[in-house]
């Protein structure tokens, strides 16, 4: 009898322990609300979801993919091979043991790489505690397994030594298996199940428009309870998702609120949500604390309110989020943080009325006059006095319906809209606006958790839009774009919505406007979260800027991994104080490029970045830059292509 002969039984024992441990979690998941899941499709898609989608994210941090592939691969391979070791004939083969030893060796190599990320000092975003000890257990298991199998492959020359090696490996293996309930190894089983039963399977379909996987789902306003109060109010696969977290901290490193010192860390929040169902953290949370952490009572349980000064999560944490989705974009476990945050907000807002006083103001205006700024709808077009701005009521139909949005009430936003309207007129676009019939799209209400107001506005807007004929909706506001394009279909309105950057790029590409070159200016482009990350549109604005001959410099964080300006999700309304302001941080990144101008494509971003004080690059909307170039083209005497005269207003 050799020690290696016990290795297969060790694996069986580990599986049993893991099964019991994960079974305890399964019981908790079952307390969640039901969810419709296509298991067959999910199971079939699992390898692709893991090898393509997960790996794609993990691989952004090379040191992570380099350590995870051999560690997990070696572990699964070794355990899988050891399963065959239960057959005596196979267990007698020395070649077999050589293979097992090789698998353990691969794993050990991965563990070394993992240890290098943590020792002597762990990356700041990683958790310590049990996570810091994980490579120790894995290492002992891999090394012990390797040596035991190696000795067996060599014909078991030193039986005593092999037993001496087997015992620590067995202890470490069982300890690892034991952590599948509340410790690090939970991520393996929960993560795989989460990939199968993911609440947003559309996000794995790379052919589908990105917005389909990012729009919020409508809430049943007739439900007994609105939003999520306690763990049991989440769908079971959401509880499962929280358990999948590996505490890698990528979300935290990307979170603008965390960077600004507001009391939010998406990683800590997901860890809290996972801990909530089991009655609190099994071990003290060993990651970075919430910045400027608030005092909490810390009570937790399946039927205990999560967000409360007495619970696990302080309300300020919830209201710090800008819903920028950077965390979701960075999460290798495909966790949907924003969905959870909005669900929790819905309960706070609609059931408790526990919304920050400042954020209640726009919601009150919404209820009063359908416009968060509290301005009358008929004033929406006042800024355009003197411009040719046709109304669709007069025309009945138009090629393009221009959705003005909230920018129409804001002096800065009006400058952008004027540039856009002038460009449309110059290009001879057949367009019209709803004028006083345009209500706010409801984005702010929805992100602040006021689903009732959002649904009322969505239905009213869909009804208004149904009265007119138009081919496309054009808007300069990515929030309106996202909501109308991706969230109105649930209320019966499906539209072709185009952002002004894409539309203007089309106009330039087709030669309908002829801008002069603005060469000689350096520029950087700030991607709006709701355009880039939410809708995957990062190319059109860049193509347009390039067409203007501008020297474009990219920030370290750009495209789908851009950083938020701080203006989304009602965060400016809730106004949870931090150490600094998000737009200041972003402006610092803009300055680092050395560009003299930052091009923006969203009225919120414009307002937030223009609010940065001191010496800073100029903030210009893409539409303003294009109009400037068109005007410059007109001033050129001969040779320049003639632009159409403005129609008299």
């Amino acid at each position: 009898m050799t020690a290696a002969a016990f290795l297969p039984w060790l694996v069986v024992a580990m599986l049993l322990v893991a099964a019991v441990q994960i079974g305890r979690r399964v019981m908790l998941w079952r307390a969640g609300k039901p969810a419709t899941i296509d298991w067959i499709v999910g199971l079939k898609a699992l390898p692709k979801r893991y090898l393509v989608d997960v790996h794609h994210v993990v691989d952004r941090d090379k040191s992570a993919s380099r350590m995870h592939v051999p560690t997990a691969g070696g572990l699964v391979l070794a355990c899988g091979l050891l399963g065959f070791g239960l057959v005596p004939a196979i267990a007698a083969s020395r070649l077999y043991w050589a293979l097992v030893a090789l698998a353990f060796l691969i794993m050990a190599a991965g563990v070394v790489l993992e240890a290098r990320r943590r020792y002597p000092r762990a990356l700041p975003r990683l958790s310590l505690g049990r996570w810091q000890r994980l490579p120790v257990y894995l290492g002992v298991f891999a090394a012990g397994g390797f040596l035991t199998a190696l000795l067996a492959a060599l014909g078991n020359p030193l039986p005593a030594l092999s037993f001496l090696l087997f015992f620590p490996a067995a202890a470490a293996g069982l300890a690892l298996a034991a952590t599948t309930a509340s410790g690090p190894m939970r991520h393996a089983l929960a993560g795989a199940t989460h990939l199968v039963a993911h609440p947003r399977p559309r996000r794995f379909d790379h052919e589908a428009p990105k917005g389909e996987a990012t729009g919020l789902r409508p809430l049943d306003l007739e439900a007994d309870k609105l939003g999520a109060e306690m763990p049991t109010d989440f769908a079971w696969n959401r509880l499962l998702a929280f358990d999948a977290c590996v505490q890698c901290g990528r979300c935290e490193a990307a979170c603008p609120a965390f960077a600004a010192g507001q009391p939010l860390s998406p990683k800590h929040l997901i860890a809290d949500l996972a801990a909530a169902s089991g009655g609190g953290h099994a071990r003290t949370y060993a990651g970075n604390p919430y910045p400027n952490e608030r005092q909490i009572g810390g009570t937790a349980g399946l039927h205990t309110p999560i967000v409360s000064p007495d619970g696990l999560v302080h309300p300020d944490t919830l209201w710090s989020c800008t819903t920028c989705r950077a965390c979701v974009e960075e999460c290798p476990m495909m966790i949907e943080h924003v969905d959870a945050i909005v669900d929790l907000r819905r309960f706070q807002t609609m059931e408790l009325g526990a919304i920050p006083m400042k954020a209640e103001e726009p919601l009150a205006h919404y209820r009063g006059c359908d416009e968060p700024s509290g301005r009358p709808l008929f004033e929406r077009t006042d800024f355009a006095a003197g411009l040719s701005l046709p109304r669709i009521v007069e025309k009945g139909e138009a090629e393009v319906l221009l959705w003005l949005g909230q920018a129409a009430y804001d002096l800065r936003g009006q400058r952008t809209l004027k540039a856009l309207i002038q460009t449309l007129n110059a290009a001879g676009v057949d367009f019209a606006v709803l004028g006083g019939q345009e209500r706010d799209c409801g984005d702010l209400a929805r992100r602040l958790g006021d689903e009732a107001t959002f649904q009322r506005l969505a239905k009213a807007n869909v009804e208004t839009l149904s009265r007119y004929r138009f081919a496309r909706i054009l808007t300069a506001d990515p929030h309106a774009l996202h909501v109308i394009r991706n969230e109105y279909p649930a209320f019966g309105g499906t539209y072709d919505v185009v952002h002004h950057t894409a539309f203007l790029a089309e106009l330039v590409a087709s030669g309908r406007v002829t801008p002069a070159s603005l060469a000689g200016r350096t520029i950087t482009y700030h991607d709006p979260c709701y355009l880039g990350r939410y809708n995957g549109e990062v190319e059109a604005p860049r193509a347009l800027l390039d067409a203007l001959g501008l020297e474009r410099r990219e920030m370290a964080r750009s495209g789908k991994r851009s950083m938020c300006c701080g203006g989304g999700g009602g965060a400016p309304s809730a106004d949870i104080p931090g150490d600094t302001r998000i737009p200041d941080i972003r402006m610092g990144q803009i300055k680092d490029t050395g560009a003299k101008t930052v091009a923006v494509a969203c009225p919120q971003c414009t307002a937030m970045l223009e609010g940065v004080t001191g010496e800073r690059p100029e903030v210009k909307d893409v539409a303003e830059l294009l109009w400037e170039a068109i005007e410059a083209g007109r001033r050129k005497p001969a040779g320049a292509a003639p632009a159409r005269e403005l129609q008299p207003a």
């Binding site: 309870k225 009325g353 006083m357 009150a364 209820r367 009063g368 006059c369 009358p376 009732a452």
Partner: protein, 257 residues
């Protein structure tokens, strides 16, 4: 302390849609400090705006339906008189300090005080129970941020000032859960109210173009000096005194037009 908040038919100042008056929402906030289950009363053709009061913290709302343009006072007075004679009589009635809807005058609280023979206190910003059983301590807002603390014997009617604490945020779920009790107007025994108050509104007003009004702050005196305090004057005499005061302070300078 059982508290009833009276809800008017306010219109949103921007959109003109029926909504809950902010003053009344603030009144609910004050009521919630005294009564765990504050109730509301609305008399009018529709509760479209007033029902939002449930979302701001009222736990129940009685709605007496009357026809459009009908004077709500008899029904309010009748309903409250019933309540006062019931086995759990309300002790405090809160109202907004002014009308915020189309033809509303804001005078209902005063007419109601007269009809029910209750004292009325204007412009409350804070309310708490008095030390002596059956009394109430009310902080009244005065000009220029001054406050006056008054102790009154219950039951009492109080109007609420805009400087009272902001209302509790609206919660849709709370509105859904709140109890709405509808009553037919003819089931409420109308209380006898004085003749003037039941006179229907006569639409004899004329419209004048907007003109700049003199600034009140600059010229008018703010302290109510003793020579300005008249207790129980005859109505004609009171009117004359008020006009004289306004002219003296340059607030009204158009003679007897």
């Amino acid at each position: 302390m059982k508290t009833i908040v009276l809800l008017s038919e306010a219109n949103d100042p921007i959109s003109g849609r029926p909504h809950l008056s902010r003053l009344e929402a603030q009144a609910i906030g004050l009521a919630a400090n005294l009564d765990k289950t504050p109730q509301g009363l609305h008399v009018g053709p529709s509760e479209e705006g007033a029902s939002a009061a449930l979302g701001h913290g009222l736990s129940g709302l009685d709605v007496v339906e009357t026809s459009v343009g009908e004077d709500p006072l008899p029904a309010i007075a009748g309903f409250l008189k019933n309540a006062l004679n019931g086995n759990e009589p309300p002790a405090l009635f809160l109202c907004g300090r002014r009308g915020e809807g189309g033809l509303e005058t804001g005078i209902v609280p005063y007419l109601l005080a007269e009809a029910l023979d209750l004292p009325i206190l204007a412009d409350a910003v804070a309310i708490r129970p008095g030390e002596v059983q059956g009394t109430l301590v009310v902080d009244q807002a005065m000009a220029k941020g001054a406050r006056r603390r008054v102790t009154v014997r219950l039951p009492v009617i109080a109007t609420v000032h805009a400087l009272a604490p902001p209302p509790q945020p609206f919660a849709y779920g709370r509105m859904r859960r709140g109890e709405l009790r509808r009553h037919r107007a003819d089931m409420i025994p109308a209380a006898a109210t004085s003749a003037e108050s039941t006179t229907p509104v006569v639409g004899s007003h004329e419209e004048r173009p907007h003109r700049a009004r003199p600034k009140l702050m600059r010229t008018s005196g703010t302290s109510a000096g003793s020579h300005n305090l008249h207790v129980g004057p005859e109505p004609d005499e009171a009117a004359r005194l008020i006009l004289a005061y306004l002219e003296e302070n340059g607030i009204r300078r158009y003679g007897n037009d």
